[in-house]
Symmetry: C2
Subunit: 120 residues, 2 copies
């Protein structure tokens, strides 16, 4: 199976509600980027056993996100902020092309660095 990196982000959000064992396997696989065989050797279990554990962990993460929806909440806010930044760019470009004051541009640049500072 190919590693789907969305699970690294789901693990970051929901990892604390998994069992210790489940979280450990997923962390080794997604955060430490170990292979199934490396994890199997570390844990002293079969490669198939590791694969099954990780599959179950992924299912739990997907189910939790389906029920709680934190990913969707984050995506909603990020999309909104992206729109705000684009609108600021439009206004800045307007201000540069016709009559306005330098301070308006500076303040709009301020909004943008605020948003990029908090969402990086």
């Amino acid at each position: 199976m190919a590693k789907d990196l969305k699970f690294a982000s789901l693990l970051d959000i929901y990892g604390a509600v998994l069992t210790d064992k489940q979280r450990e396997m997923l962390e080794l696989y997604y955060n430490e980027d170990l292979s199934l065989s490396e994890i199997a050797a570390n844990e002293g279990i079969s490669r198939q056993g590791v694969r099954d554990s990780i599959k179950r962990g992924e299912e739990t993460l997907t189910e939790l996100d389906g029920k709680i929806g934190t990913t969707a909440v984050i995506e909603k806010y990020e999309a909104l902020l992206e729109k705000v930044v684009k609108k600021c760019d439009e206004i800045i470009s307007d201000c540069r092309s016709y009559t306005t004051t330098k301070s308006v541009i500076e303040k709009l640049e301020g909004i943008k660095s605020e948003i990029s500072g908090e969402t990086a």
Copy 2:
């Protein structure tokens, strides 16, 4: 006990991962605003039994939010957006008091209604 309405919002976020019974009790208490005695009569259990169930449900919600932290994520974005709206107000007020174009103001008003529309 006094009803703490933060649990209505936690129930909205995490309710789907509670057991059906737990969710039902909390919904009657927080969303339908029934009293402990009313729920007890409906469910055919003691008032103390209802109280214990709700307490346990509240503990589960608090624990989930401590582990997953969706409330904190939402608060972070809401605070950021509030700052953006305040900055827009500042700029609009600047624009009204000295040289600028009507379209700059209109666009900034556009940013604000976008934000209030998506976060209401």
